[in-house]
Amino acid sequence: MNLTLHVWRQKNAKATGAFVTYQAKDISPDMSFLEMLDVVNEDLIAKNEEPITFDHDCREGICGACGMVINGAPHGPKQRTTTCQLHMRSFKDGDELTLEPWRAEAFPIVRDLMVDRSAFDRIIASGGFITAPTGTAQDANAIPVRKENADLAMDAAACIGCGACVAACPNASAMLFTGAKVSQLALLPQGQPERYDRVLKMVSEMDASGFGSCTNHGECASACPKGISLQNIARMNRDFVKASLTDGTRDASGDTGGAG
């Protein structure tokens, strides 16, 4: 099949960008979306035009590197699917597609469809961890975890950090990303000692990085390729309120997990 692409081209963070139209010819429905772009790029190189820059790595939906807005939808039309896992059979001959980078103040454009998501790393660095230096651990089975909690923690931990939630949100909020990490660790007994301190630090870093606030649109969860649920935001909000009331010093030693 043949498609028409309107692609955002921008040389670097400071340059002004614009849409440029390209034809994608002889595309097989078995190709992934990125393989379709590979074909377009090889054509461009043959014509001495610089290929389109986009982030990608694993191409199996797990590393979170890829992502672009396709006809207004982050990662395109298919639910729970990253751009690299989207296949051309989701489109038809003659389709016209607009490809844009994630748009958010906290994600400056690096080039074309590639953005800088280091703000996510800073949120994790501010508190998205359990302080467990190497060598201090007790036997793994000494800490039993309710299966329900372990499963919910795993649901939250499935986040790949791609940034689609931010791109989908009208306020460019990072609540789903941050909430997922806060929830995962708050649901586990190992995460209790730092639970309230953690949420305060992560939320404050999130605000400092220029992400917007959450006004309950829920676009983030529907755009999420990993199905991270809005419940994670609710859990984070609950912990945040509790923590704020006590300034993060609340003694959490009585908690054994169970933020859900």
Partner: protein
């Protein structure tokens, strides 16, 4: 070149303890005075960088991705082995050691493997403490599953995303150190040269992939944790960015490259769908716990799988290897699939596939239970192939997945260049000629968390390191080499894209140095590769400039190195005149089973760079088997 393994002697259970005591220590106040470079942020690099920083060292960590959280360890699906014996099924450190040595077809160093099995138990403890959400049973304790090459259940898992969860655990620990200022992180940076001064590794030259800036970074020691080189085949389960450049630069500066021909072809991947294919996707080995592998008995049988009656199916793994059945090790399962397809009994387009069938398991356990165990894998399969594996069997075919070969290291993970340490898949040390499933994650974390933190201290405490600055002539020379190379790529102005060369190299490698190799084929490849390389340097086309983000330029550099490595792999394969694990020479077999030649090849081949245009030197490290006695590997 002298290859001193520095492995301790004495009873194997005590070697690591003894060695730890014998090694020199750096006292806590002095650790602050040392700086260490870590290249790579996967399980080995991420855990290593974080742990070294916890100890007090000043660490700089580099990765080519936009965030350390994206390193390809993230894609590992099935699980991580540990000799916990939580199942009470007869597991032990000794058994994990034994299985790994045997699984590797007796081509790994016993002392290293034993240590790996020992620290495996600490890894699970450590990762649980960090909040990795491993699968649990209703009682709240950890669950296990079985993997190929083992008859016990020792694999811990987090759904089908174990690599992701372990990597995020290590990444969070790394981010904590970044937040504390003990690790300086350099994402979107590519290492393009190793700096050696007075024979020691003292730094690296990188290119900032966003701005194009070429820069030197100096340190007291350098660690490479840059993964494997499976992308030399173009199509593999590796991420698109995985490359050999860091290792290859080190090789050309004097680090020996060990057993480059040992590549792992994973039996359960989604088959190639067309020429556009850019990468292959693995279906976790854990699926072989419940899936049964078969092909039709009749050649060229094009009936739908459901229309082929039970007695006209060949469950060939169960037939040939009754005691391990569908859980035969990877190299064996891959070869058996190839044989069936070569015999004209393959299924799907082009006959390049075999069935992995869950019908029996669904009947026995119900589709809900199957979904709980493998749901995300089934979804992924359906997304890629548009076929529903709950209703019809999966089609799978072997694909390049892992490389057991890598830079040669001694027991301290030090390469033949003093001060250059190599961790994880990038080194050669623990898996011999074939890696068992769920052991890559184990080795990456073992190296990063529990080995390098001790051994690097020993190096730093035993050597007097001069202070150096970036004005040093060796530093300037290394920088100039990098800049010249970049300018060269940009000035060739040829006609072919870097990708087109990469694809062509991949085809040569797969055909002549893939699942089955032989003398004539390898010699053909050894003619084709240098010719292709020559064409590359004359005709590659890299558009754009060096001062901005330029993915074609990045690619060209990686392909140039693959074009050299491919040749070394073929040379190694040619000279290893035996079959062992993943290295299968059709001339050396016993009714299709790999035939080792212990009299002549019970050794590591460590290749030494001899200069441009010269044949590299093949050095040997003999292997002794004191504990697991050399025997023909049998899974029957």
């Amino acid at each position: 070149m002298e290859l001193r393994s520095n492995a301790p002697t004495g009873p194997i259970e005590q070697r690591w303890d003894k060695h730890r005591f014998d090694m020199k220590l750096v006292n806590p106040a002095n650790k602050r005075k040392y700086s260490i470079i870590m290249v790579g942020s996967g399980l080995a690099g991420g855990s290593g960088a974080a742990t070294l920083a916890e100890l007090g060292y000043n660490v700089s960590c580099f990765c080519y991705q936009d965030s350390p959280r994206r390193a390809h360890s993230i894609a590992a699906q099935g699980g991580i082995n540990a000799a916990k014996n939580y199942r009470n099924d007869g597991d032990s450190i000794y058994r994990l050691f034994y299985d790994t040595v045997k699984g590797g077809d007796f081509r790994a160093r016993e002392s290293n493997v034993y240590r790996l099995a020992q620290v495996s138990v600490n890894i699970i403890d450590q990762m649980v403490a960090q909040g990795v959400p491993f699968a649990r049973e209703y009682g709240g304790l950890l669950d296990n599953r079985s993997f190929g090459g083992a008859q016990v259940s020792r694999t811990f898992y987090a759904r089908g995303q174990t690599g992701q969860q372990l990597l995020l655990g290590a990444y969070q620990q790394l981010e904590r150190q970044i937040g504390l200022g003990k690790v300086k992180m350099y994402p979107r940076h590519e290492m393009l040269e190793l700096i050696t001064i007075d024979g020691r590794a003292r730094g690296i030259v990188t290119r900032d992939m966003t701005t194009g800036k070429v820069e030197s970074h100096l340190a007291d020691a350098v660690c490479l944790a840059t993964g494997g080189y499976g992308n030399v085949f173009y199509l593999s389960t590796n991420a698109k960015g995985c490359n050999t450049t860091a290792n290859w630069r080190a090789y050309k500066k004097g680090a020996a490259f060990a057993n480059p021909c040992y590549t792992q072809i994973h039996p359960t991947c989604i088959p190639v769908s067309g020429d556009h294919q850019s990468k292959l996707t693995l279906m976790s080995e854990s699926l072989r716990n419940d899936g049964r592998v078969w092909v039709p008995k009749k050649k060229g049988d094009t009936r739908k799988p459901a229309d082929i009656p039970e007695d006209e199916r060949d469950y060939y793994l169960e037939r040939k290897y009754p005691s391990f059945g569908n859980l035969a090790p990877r190299d064996i399962a891959s070869r058996a699939a190839k044989e069936a397809c070569d015999d004209g009994r393959g299924v799907g387009p082009g006959g390049k596939g075999v069935y992995l069938d869950f019908a029996d398991a669904i009947k026995r356990l119900g589709s809900h239970a199957i979904a709980e165990k493998y749901g995300n894998l089934f979804e992924m399969y359906e997304r890629i192939t548009d076929e529903n594996p709950y209703k019809q069997p999966m089609r799978i075919y072997p694909a390049v997945h892992y490389t057991m070969g890598g830079l040669w290291v001694d027991y301290n993970l030090q390469s033949t260049i003093p001060g250059l340490h190599v961790l994880g898949e990038a080194n050669f040390s623990d898996h011999g000629a074939n890696r068992l499933g769920a052991s890559a994650l184990m080795q990456g974390l073992a190296d990063g968390y529990f080995i390098i933190p001790y051994t690097i201290g020993h190096y730093l405490a035993s050597n007097k390191l001069e202070k150096i600055t970036t004005d040093h002539p060796e530093v300037k020379k290394a920088e100039a080499a990098v800049t010249d190379r970049i300018n060269k790529f940009l000035s060739i102005n040829g006609k072919r894209s870097p990708t087109s060369f990469h694809r062509e190299l991949g085809k040569i490698m797969w055909e002549y140095c893939g699942m089955a190799r032989n003398d004539a084929g390898l010699k053909t490849a050894l003619e084709k590769i240098p010719a292709l390389r020559e064409e590359f340097w004359k005709d590659v086309k890299v558009l754009g400039d060096g001062f901005s983000l330029n993915q074609s330029l990045e690619m060209a550099g990686r392909v140039a190195d693959f074009l050299e490595l491919g040749e070394l792999m073929c040379l190694d394969a040619l000279e290893r005149k035996e079959s062992a694990g993943g290295h299968y020479r059709t001339e050396y077999q016993d009714e299709g089973e790999a035939k080792r030649d212990d009299a002549n090849f019970c050794h590591v081949a460590a290749w030494e760079y001899a200069g441009e245009g010269k044949k590299p030197i093949r050095n040997i490290e003999p292997l002794d088997f004191e504990y697991v006695h050399l025997a023909t590997r049998s899974y029957k």
